[in-house]
Amino acid sequence: MSSLSKADVGEVRGNRDAEYNYSVGMYMEKFFKASKERKLLGIRCPVCKKTYVPPRMICESCFAETKEWTELQPKGTVLTYTVAHVNVDGANGVLNDLAKPEIIALIKIAGADSAIVHRICEAKPDSIKISAPVEIVWAEETCGGPSDIKYFRPTK
């Protein structure tokens, strides 16, 4: 149907900056101010009493505004995990092989009813088990952003 071959089509490449500037909102702002101090904050729903971390304004199942802030211990247990042998290239979305497999996990935070997706380091991939206790390793220099939680590691 097309009489053009790919060789006939000219290509002009260039870069376009797309500066997005996301507001985190007051709840995550408070969370990050605390993470800068190496503290982990959660928030509770007044109806079902569930504690959410990272904190958010609404408890979905109750459709209620959360109220009580609470400081949580920077540790939890592995709810589930996966060993990554590839990662997604941020430039073009393809999968690149990883030189060393990495562990990504859903970590249920102690004292909370929700889980954080993060990576587990200082551990061999074949040693990770569901329910394993893990703890946060904070960044050497915290800045009040998601990078403050550097990774989780198995609790000794």
């Binding site: 376009r16 797309a18 500066e19 997005y20 500037n21 996301y22 507001s23 985190v24 909102g25 007051m26 709840y27 995550m28 958010r56 304004m57 609404i58 979905e60 199942s61 459709f63």
Partner: protein, 403 residues
């Protein structure tokens, strides 16, 4: 088909930047307001219909993240997106879901948190898909100046064909901005004169800065329900009696040839077709006589004249001639955009829904300081989207169409 009505409306105060909320929290404000307005609980909502223009926030399908914040947990949820007309297409989705009998009460919301994103990127990716169209409007690749190129052509064409002059646009903008001054949710609320508008810099002749919409963070939510439930939820429901939409072709490049949009964006046949169908559905035979209020989609001042004609409220080329008699003013015979219109508040995903919501509020008598002087028994709302190739028309009334 069942009779349906709007029983609750929530609109956020539009501003340039809401830094204190993220996207889900922001839309929740409108949802909360609509639910409180209808005095119902989230359990009364059977389904949700939502939409926005994702290119502007750079978040793909934000209702996946935010749906639970808006009462969508374990409920049916639909996403509809059509550009600037999104808000009206989303509302139309809610109309179909209720009128068809599939759901009784639907919560619908349109929003845009433009401050989170790069507006030019959102617009460019519309233009970039069609280089030939961009070139036709004189948009350079590296810095497309936004949607204004096409609307400049539209404004010039309107002037050439009808004899309208730029001073009318100045007066139109002054009226709209002054209307917005009485609207607590509007972005630009300025009591201004035509001279103030004429003093603003020219962006591209004949459109001045003062004729042009802002970019806003804004959200709107509405509750749509059946006749039986409406009578319990609202003292005076706003009945949605007619609706239609019409798509024209925008593409120049490619094998489908040029569409009317790019030949002459003044034409807007789609608006006439959609209006004709919507009026017929609502049982309106003479819109010029029977429609009491209009909220067309007017991001640029010249469209205050163009779209009411395309909505069959004035003969072609006649609308601006009646402007100075005060016909379109808030105390006039046919008030147009008493809310201040899109030229005063433009959060893209919300703007077209707000046109419907504002008509509903006027019919319900709940428009506060911006309530128009005359009795409003019927109203028409309009949404414009895509490359001005989507027109969506909604006709509301204070009585259900006899179905």
């Amino acid at each position: 088909m069942r009779n349906i009505a709007i029983v609750g409306v929530g609109i956020t105060k539009h501003v340039s930047k809401r830094r204190d909320v993220n996207i889900p929290e922001f839309v929740y404000e409108a949802v909360k307001a609509a639910i409180e307005d209808a005095d119902i609980g989230i359990r009364d909502i059977d389904a949700l219909v939502t939409g926005n223009m994702p290119g502007f926030e750079g978040v793909n399908c934000p209702e996946l993240w935010g749906g639970g914040y808006w009462g969508g947990y374990k409920k049916p949820m639909l996403r509809i997106t059509t550009g600037g007309s999104t808000g009206s297409s989303v509302a139309q989705g809610a109309f179909y879901l209720v009128a068809s009998g599939v759901f009784d009460t639907v919560l619908t919301m349109g929003f845009e948190k433009q401050s989170d994103g790069a507006t030019t990127v959102g617009l460019e990716s519309a233009g970039m898909s069609d280089f030939v169209a961009m070139r036709a409007y004189g948009m350079p690749e590296l810095d497309p100046a936004g949607a204004i190129g096409m609307f400049v052509f539209q404004a010039i064409s309107y002037m050439a064909r009808t004899g309208c002059t730029i001073d009318y646009f100045d007066r139109a903008a002054a009226m709209l901005r002054s209307n917005a001054a009485k609207n607590p949710y509007a972005h630009i609320q300025q009591q201004v004169t035509a001279e103030d508008i004429a003093d603003t810099p020219m962006i591209a002749y004949p459109l001045r800065f003062g004729h042009t919409c802002p970019t806003s963070d804004g959200a709107c939510a509405m509750i749509v329900t059946t006749k039986e439930k409406a009578q319990k939820m609202a003292k005076k429901p706003a009945w949605v009696n007619g609706w239609s939409s019409c798509a024209e072709e925008a593409s120049i490049a490619g094998l489908h040839g040029a569409g009317s949009i790019n030949i002459d964006p003044f034409d807007q046949r789609g608006c006439k077709f959609a209006a004709t169908k919507a009026y017929a559905m609502a049982g309106i035979k003479e819109p010029q006589k029977e429609i009491h209020l209009a909220e067309p989609y007017v991001p640029f001042a010249h469209q205050l004249f163009l779209y009411p004609e395309r909505l069959l409220l004035f003969n072609e080329g006649e609308s601006f001639r009646q402007f100075d008699q005060g016909v379109m003013h808030r105390d006039g015979r046919l008030p147009i955009c008493p809310s201040g219109g899109v030229v005063s508040s433009n959060a893209i995903g919300a703007a077209a829904m707000i046109r419907i919501a504002e008509c509903a509020l006027q019919i319900m008598g709940k428009a506060g300081e911006r309530q128009v002087t005359r009795d409003v028994h019927t109203a028409v709302a309009h949404g414009l989207g895509g490359q001005a190739n989507f027109n969506v028309v909604t006709v509301l009334g204070d009585k259900p169409a006899g179905r």
